[in-house]
Amino acid sequence: MPGDSDIAIEFAGTGFRLPEGKTLLSDLNLAVRRGETLMLVGRSGSGKTTSLKLINCLLKATSGEVRVGGKPVGEWDTIHLRRGIGYAIQDVGLFPHYTVFDNVALVPKLERWEPRRIGARVEEVLALVGMPVGDFAARYPHELSGGQRQRVGLARALAADPPILLMDEPFGALDPITRADLRVEFKNLQQKLGKTVVFVTHDVGEALELGSRIALLEEGKLRGVYRPAEFLATTDASVKAYVDVFRAGQQMFRN
């Protein structure tokens, strides 16, 4: 990434409107710091996923702009921009006709790495996500469990060592135990790798556990950005609603 500023991603007055006129996101101003894990929290339709997709140009802002590494995404070569941004989503989207190895190796191959370096890197990232290459490299996605697939998806996102990771409810479709495991592993991984992560979730517990900061979105507008402790201690009624639901859940758990 060019520039040595502390800001990895910046939304500047960013808005997104569908061609039919519905506004999904309006006037978002938000800076994501290098190496932090910023959680985007909000209800369905609050603009979390839209914000995420504006970063890697899956969507194009209809007003304002998004800057990555100080440069507006529109000025980047889109392919080059995307290759430097890992992307992990709830449905994973592994290629069903590729083995685990080939899924993970795809971007390094497209970037024309040497075969030996690709092999070593695939082994490394699979080990990082707890999938020994010897056991899994030759398998096809349909031979894996949901949790294993999500691990491979994460390994694929990390393969070319992108400085930025975008994650859209990556653990949302997993059973609670697998989800808890993966959260812990992701947290350790993030401490090791220090990527800039933008992570979408509607799970307040997940946001508090993984985030260095939490951005709350409501109906396409940013309510505020909080550190986890601030988020829990807030007196703001709309934030409190999320905290209360979270606390109620914990209470039930304890009883």
Binding site: I79, R83, D91, G93, P96, H97, V107, L110
Partner: protein
């Protein structure tokens, strides 16, 4: 049945003619149909028009289609040329439709992940869309091949040759043996094409759930 065995040379010649008509028209239909199907996935608005018109072609009786193309300047000049054009038009619908359906049916997260990983649109097509659409695409080619082998027997009516020669001759002579000398090889050819293409399909898509 005797005729089939007493005239092996003639049977072989007409079978070869038939194969040639079918082969060339299939190649033509694939060369036009697959890119056209891919184009529809990029320009969905054209879908109704293109699939609609290939559908209309399918509803025209084959004999009528041969007749309709006859007055055309370059095409009408030679019977085999005309037959190949008409057969290719018939084969087009299943190929275009299945190419389109095969690609459009790829699960959205797979496509989204591929785009987000920075695949160019050519890489998306060759590495993801075509391989995943292949089983459906091949099924379309199979259907097209079987249809074309059958319809090609009618091409004899305009003098384009092929196994239809025996069928029309046999009808004129009221001789079932001669009819069968055309019908049996044509039926065997259709079966063989079906088996061959399903073999290719199995070979290419071994690994999927």
């Amino acid at each position: 049945m005797n005729f089939l065995f007493t005239h092996p040379r003639e049977v072989a010649t007409l079978t070869a003619e038939h194969l040639w008509l079918v082969g060339v028209s299939m190649l033509l239909a694939i060369a036009i149909g697959v890119p056209l199907g891919i184009l529809l996935t990029r320009r969905p608005r054209w879908k109704t028009v293109v699939l609609g018109s290939t559908n209309v072609v399918q509803t025209i009786p084959s004999l009528a289609l041969f007749g309709l193309l006859l007055p055309l300047p370059w095409l009408g000049a030679r019977a085999d040329r005309l037959a190949i054009a008409a057969l290719a038009l018939y084969a087009l619908l299943p190929i275009v439709r299945n190419t389109y359906v095969g690609i459009a049916g790829i699960s959205p997260p797979v496509r989204e992940a591929a785009i987000a990983m920075g695949l160019t649109s050519e890489q998306l097509l060759w590495k993801v869309e075509l391989p995943l659409a292949l089983p459906v695409l091949l099924a379309g080619i199979r259907v097209a091949a079987v249809i074309t082998i059958g319809v090609a027997t009618i091409a004899a009516a305009i003098g384009a040759g092929g196994l239809g020669e025996f069928i029309f001759r046999g009808i004129a002579m009221v001789d079932n043996g001669v009819i069968l000398a055309g019908a049996i090889p044509a039926a065997l050819m259709a079966l063989a094409a079906d088996l061959l293409l399903s073999g290719v399909e199995k070979l290419l898509v071994r690994h999927r759930s």
